[in-house]
């Protein structure tokens, strides 16, 4: 039950989180998986089949773009780096605003319920 609830929330915010990490710094697919695992508090330990469709969706919508870049190391294969477009940065700001309002509203509603102030 708890896991399903977390999955539903994760699905809703995944585009925003991935966009945020790409706005922060140009990165490649596996790099994103690692960052999400390190910084996601266990909620964002994604597999390739979940992350790449998000990247394809963002890229097809013009919010990020990809380019192949050779690694500095010798004999290392080039990586596909993703970077945020102007539209992507604007969309992230919009997502962030909506999320702040939404989470504040949820917090308010739950606080009302816990203190018995509101009628739910």
């Amino acid at each position: 039950m708890e896991q399903r609830f977390a999955q539903q929330i994760k699905k809703g915010v995944l585009d925003m989180i991935v966009l945020r990490l790409i706005c922060e710094e140009d990165t490649y697919g596996y790099g994103l998986l690692q960052k999400l695992e390190q910084r996601g508090g266990g909620y964002f330990d994604l597999k390739e089949g979940t992350l790449y469709p998000v990247l394809y969706r963002l890229e097809d919508a013009g919010l990020i773009r990809s380019a192949w870049q050779a690694s500095g190391e010798r004999r290392a294969a080039p990586k596909k780096y993703y970077s945020a477009t102007e539209a992507g940065r604007a969309r992230y700001a919009e997502y962030r605003r909506v999320w702040s309002e939404f989470s504040a509203c949820v917090e308010r509603l739950c606080a009302e319920e816990e203190t018995g102030e509101g009628e739910l």
Binding site: Y28, G29, K47, G49, Y52, K80
Partner: protein
């Protein structure tokens, strides 16, 4: 090609076979997974470790199928195409009515030819889209 490389190639092919997506999308996924596997190999992981981390070919493919089919929107031309096909099919039935009712006359040949062309064209497009969706043919 080493045994490790062969094993990983079979692994990626196995994922591709289990994908129920258009060929263009399959190629995109194949390319990205192959790049990631190459990166993991450069980091010193063995084929077994990579496969254990990513999951079985069916598991990987199922996740892609679930995410990408659920997020796909129907093509806007689908309803228009169905409508044209319906009109052409109805037209063909009307054209053939004189076969059963001798009192009626056949329409001019050019109308029959045009109708047959539209019918064949829309049917061909519908079949092609169906096969593309199942990943059978190239776009």
């Amino acid at each position: 090609m080493t045994e490790e490389q062969k094993k990983l190639k079979r692994y990626v092919s196995g994922i591709e076979r289990s994908l129920r997506l258009p060929l263009k999308t399959k190629a995109r996924i194949n390319h990205d997974l192959a790049t990631e596997i190459q990166l993991l190999r450069e980091q010193g992981m063995t084929a077994e470790e990579i496969i254990a981390q990513m999951g079985s070919p069916e598991e990987v493919a199922d996740r892609f199928n679930e995410e990408m089919v659920a997020g796909a929107s129907p093509k806007p031309g689908l309803f228009l195409g169905s409508g044209i096909f319906g009109f052409a099919a109805a037209g063909t039935c009307l054209e053939l009515l004189p076969l059963w009712n001798p009192g009626l006359t056949f329409p001019p040949a050019w109308i029959c030819a045009l109708n047959a062309l539209v019918l064949a064209g829309t049917a061909r497009t519908a079949l092609r889209r169906l096969r593309e969706r199942k990943g059978i043919i190239r776009k």
